[in-house]
Symmetry: C2
Subunit: 130 residues, 2 copies
């Protein structure tokens, strides 16, 4: 059983925005959208994003510098994420595959090292763009 994180005001505002978005959001687009709620500076956004990533409520899509809400409860503990990204429409989907996560968590490099933390981004065309 893991600790529930009560979000602070800024964290909640920013999480709500990301969570209801159908696409990954960029930091300055978030900033623009929450200015009417009193969040005025980049740092306020980045601080909330950092915390939300840390507690697993959102993930950063590294190749896009954008943030998406987690819809996979197991991610909240393991920082092991996988996404598919459409190279045409930029649709991003979190992949939740027990087989994949098991394979990667058990993967050993040539030194025999295992990694519980990873980020995998698949690129291709989504159903619609195919």
């Amino acid at each position: 059983m893991h600790k529930e994180h009560t979000l602070t005001k800024n964290q909640q505002i920013i999480f709500d925005l990301i969570d209801k978005s159908t696409e990954p959001l960029k930091a300055y687009s978030i900033l623009f959208n929450v200015q009417k709620k009193g969040i005025k500076a980049p740092l306020q956004v980045y601080r909330a994003l950092d915390k939300l990533v840390e507690i697993g409520k959102i993930h950063k899509i590294e190749s896009r510098n954008a943030f998406i809400a987690c819809h996979n409860s197991s991610c909240q503990v393991a920082k092991a994420t996988a996404f598919s990204i459409c190279e045409i429409c930029e649709k991003v989907t979190e992949i939740s595959s027990a087989g994949l996560s098991k394979y990667l968590a058990n993967f050993k490099d040539k030194d025999g090292m295992k990694y519980s933390k990873y980020n995998l981004e698949f690129f291709g065309l989504c159903k619609k763009c195919r």
Copy 2:
């Protein structure tokens, strides 16, 4: 048999720098280091980097905004990369595992979609930092 890419002057200068580096290099660090060779502007660096990534001579470490030379000949065709990253000393190693690349190339998402292009970054502690 695939086409050999003859690098242009700027591409060669920048590739040489990255190739002989023991760590991933950032664009502006590259710029600083090649200014004595006549490359003066960020765009000249980014253009060369883009091309070098495109032809598979280097890879971008997305989570670090840094570039590393490829030492895995098969990457030159397939844009399917995997790295381990030490969270303490930031050492980055390209993973060259037939098993891993086979598993990922054959992975099907829940729509049955396969992806020949992916980027995987494992995080942990390297041998030295363990």
